[in-house]
Amino acid sequence: MSKTHRLIVDKLKKYPSDVQALANSALELSESMPEYSVTEQLKGVIRQIIKEKEEPQ
């Protein structure tokens, strides 16, 4: 993880966990993919996050 990414992760801590999860996925994917591909991947990621949130603990 780059220095900048670490700093961003640090700043994300004040946001809700689902926002953190989606943002982190977006950042990781963006290190190696172009914007359009990242968007397509995030469509699946966001479904998963919502599903996990809905599941009983």
Binding site: T4, I8, V19, S30, E31, E35, I46, R47, I50
Partner: protein, 680 residues
């Protein structure tokens, strides 16, 4: 990164094997590389980038075809062309970085075949020696790039070269400046990834909102639609704002140009007035000359008398004498005497026979008389000469006076004509009588600028209104969803995407804001170190605004950039670039060599002194590239005073297209450097 030594062999102008050892360490960290334009000062920096990164171009080569960039020494290739042999250009660099030693070299082959230059990479090698003396070697380009990139990222290399062009660009308050700074900050932060993530989540949100809009009904559908329209309109307005800013900038430039034209016309107006007056004077003088010539012509007769004055005087005296003797007019007229002789009889009636004494006396008498015509002429001449004799002096004085006056007026006429010619040359062929047109054009530009500024304010207001409306609509949407119990999966996804997009946007703004503040603070620190005492009284802070423009604030916290001098702008740029370099290096004292290529430009002595005294403290190594007009005895004296200057190299011409690097002891350089008096 601390540079130790660079060896060049047939690289660019540097024909044959040549070496530079850089000043480093506690004993001194300043190297001066001195040479005329075109001798290869920037070539030293180019060699560094080639060796470290395999870079063949600098930013100044953006418009140059790479095939026309000869890294291999051209004269050497020419010498080997007939033998069809290639020439190897090699750069070898030794440097240290946090306890490790690195030796990197890179080579390129070149030859001239059929009048075409062919260049080919020959390879690279990196030897890394750790603190214990263990060494590893690699020839793999990617591995070398990774190791070197870890020491100094390729994207940041440009921040360690300050050249006159970069400094000049930053002094202009323009979109170029903002782009330069924006690019600098973004590179520093390495936020490409963040920006991709931000755009991707935003795109995701729009996609999910569009899906929701097609599926939602009633009030919710309406609100979602309004949100979409609000966003589209905001985007449109943001784009229009950017366009207006560029148009305003162009308008300001155009107005400046028109004002410059009008100033020229005002200058010409004065010249035109002067020309008209001079032409009137010319006519007047020509008239005077004409009158004087006529006067002289009129005096020719009298003046000519001055030429015959002596003879005239002699004649007058002769006639006068004869008058005194009563020879003129004669007592008896000659024709009467002739009659008496022919009648052989005297007036008294006595007969006069030839041969007698009386006859002889009468003959003598007759001889003394003249004929009446001659007598009359002589008497007239006598009268005339009597009349003018007393005027000789007057004629002389008056004629002299007229001649003198003629000479003076004629001279004045020549001077006037010369001045007139000079004026006519200054005015030139186009007399720009179109001041009225320019004024009208200027008014049009002003009206356009006013219109744009009004539109700008209106759009800003609309953007604020749209933002407020957006907040309201988003609250309304949440309320509707809550009331309708709509928490279906699509809606949740849309909400989450929106929240994540906002979070990343906020983080982006925080990051860039913090970096701008840090750069501003460091730039202010360097700026105040470089300012003279007068400057320090007025100028306080450098701030990088949200739109990436640089502003200087005075002691009353008012924007002051428009009022600072060209020299102050220059040191402001230098301070700013140093702050960027500091941010890139990540430390207060840059552990990177700082190359400055002819940075003195418009700097006063005091500012130069400050720069020379302070830069050695900012960085671990300073390599100053300078021409003879930039670096003279004054600068040498200041630098010696820092006790940090230990290396001096002069780049000398060594035949066409070749340069020789020569080391000179810093205490022996004065003879090579200009004195200030020589510049004047």
């Amino acid at each position: 990164m601390i540079l130790q030594k660079m060896t060049l062999n047939n690289f660019r102008q540097f024909r044959g094997l040549q070496e530079i050892e850089f000043a480093r360490g506690e004993g001194g960290n300043v190297t001066v590389i001195f040479g005329d334009n075109g001798r290869g000062k920037t070539g030293i920096y180019r060699a560094l980038l080639f060796c470290l990164y395999g870079e063949k171009r600098l930013s100044q080569d953006a418009q140059v075809d790479e095939r026309e960039l000869y890294l291999v020494n051209y004269p050497e290739m020419e010498a080997k062309a007939d033998l069809k042999q290639s020439v190897e250009a090699r750069v070898h660099l030794e440097f240290t970085h946090f306890g490790r030693t690195y030796q990197i070299e890179r080579a390129i082959l070149g030859m001239i075949a059929d009048s075409t230059v062919i260049q080919e990479d020959k390879g690279a090698r990196l030897v890394t020696i750790d603190e214990d003396g263990n060494s590893t070697t690699t020839r793999d380009y990617n591995e070398i790039a990774t190791i070197v990139g870890g020491i100094l990222d390729r994207g940041l290399r440009e921040y360690f070269l300050f050249d006159g062009e970069k400094i000049e660009r930053l002094t202009r308050a323009s979109s170029d400046q903002r782009r330069e700074i924006s690019a600098g900050v973004r590179k520093l932060l390495d936020i490409d990834t963040l920006e991709i993530a931000l755009r991707a989540t935003n795109r995701l949100r729009k996609y999910l909102d569009a899906e929701l809009e097609t599926r939602a009904t009633g009030e919710l559908a309406r609100v979602i639609k309004q949100l979409r329209e609000n966003e589209e309109r905001s985007l449109e307005l943001e784009e229009r704002i950017s366009a207006i800013e560029e148009e305003l900038e162009r308008g300001a430039q155009e107005k400046k140009q028109v004002d410059a034209e009008l100033d020229k016309i005002r200058e010409i107006r004065d010249l035109l007035m002067a020309r008209t007056n001079m032409e009137k004077k010319e006519l007047d003088l020509e008239s005077q000359v004409g009158d004087l010539l006529q006067d002289m012509k009129n005096r020719t007769g009298k003046t000519a008398l001055l030429l015959v004055r002596k003879t005239a005087e002699k004649i007058f005296k002769n006639i006068d004498k004869r008058k005194q003797k009563h020879e003129i007019p004669s007592e008896i007229r000659r024709d009467l005497i002739d009659r008496l002789i022919s009648e052989e009889r005297c007036i008294c009636g006595t007969t006069i026979k030839a041969g007698t004494d009386e006859h002889r006396n009468i003959l003598l008498w007759r001889d003394r008389t003249t004929d009446i015509l001659t007598e009359d002429s002589m008497l007239n001449l006598w009268r005339y000469l009597s009349g003018i004799r007393s005027h000789y002096e007057d004629i002389g004085v008056t004629t002299e006076g007229v001649l003198q006056k003629y000479a003076v007026v004629k001279n004045e006429l020549l001077v006037t004509r010369r001045k007139l010619d000079e004026l006519r040359q200054k005015i030139g062929s186009s007399e720009r009588a179109d001041a009225a047109k320019l004024e009208k054009h200027r008014q049009q530009i002003e009206r356009k600028i006013l219109k744009l500024e009004t539109e700008y304010s209106q759009i800003h207001e609309e953007i604020n209104i749209l933002a407020e409306e957006r907040d309201r609509l988003q609250l309304q949407r949440k309320e509707i969803e809550r009331e309708q119990g709509i928490r279906d999966e699509l809606s949740k996804r849309s909400t989450l995407a929106g929240a994540t997009s906002n979070a990343l946007r906020n983080i982006h703004e925080e990051f860039t804001g913090e970096t701008r503040d840090m750069i501003g603070a460091n730039a202010t620190k360097y700026f105040r170190e470089l300012l003279d005492d007068e400057g320090k009284k007025t100028l306080r802070d450098i701030v990088v605004d949200a739109d990436y423009s640089i502003q200087v604030y005075d002691r009353w916290q008012k924007p002051f950039l428009a009022n600072i001098s060209a020299g102050q702008r220059q040191i402001m740029s230098i301070a700013f670039i140093a702050a960027l370099a500091g941010a890139a290096a990540g430390t207060e004292v840059f552990e990177m060599p700082l190359f400055m290529d002819t940075p003195f430009g418009r700097l006063s002595h005091e500012h130069r002194r400050k720069l020379l005294e302070n830069v050695p403290k900012w960085c671990s190594q300073w390599i100053l590239l300078a021409t003879d007009t930039e670096f003279g005895r004054f600068e040498a004296q200041i630098l010696r005073g820092t006790k940090q200057w230990t290396k001096f190299y002069i780049l000398k011409g060594a035949g066409a297209g070749s340069t020789k690097i020569e080391y000179i002891d810093v205490n022996q350089v004065n003879g090579l450097l200009r004195d200030e008096a020589e510049v004047i």
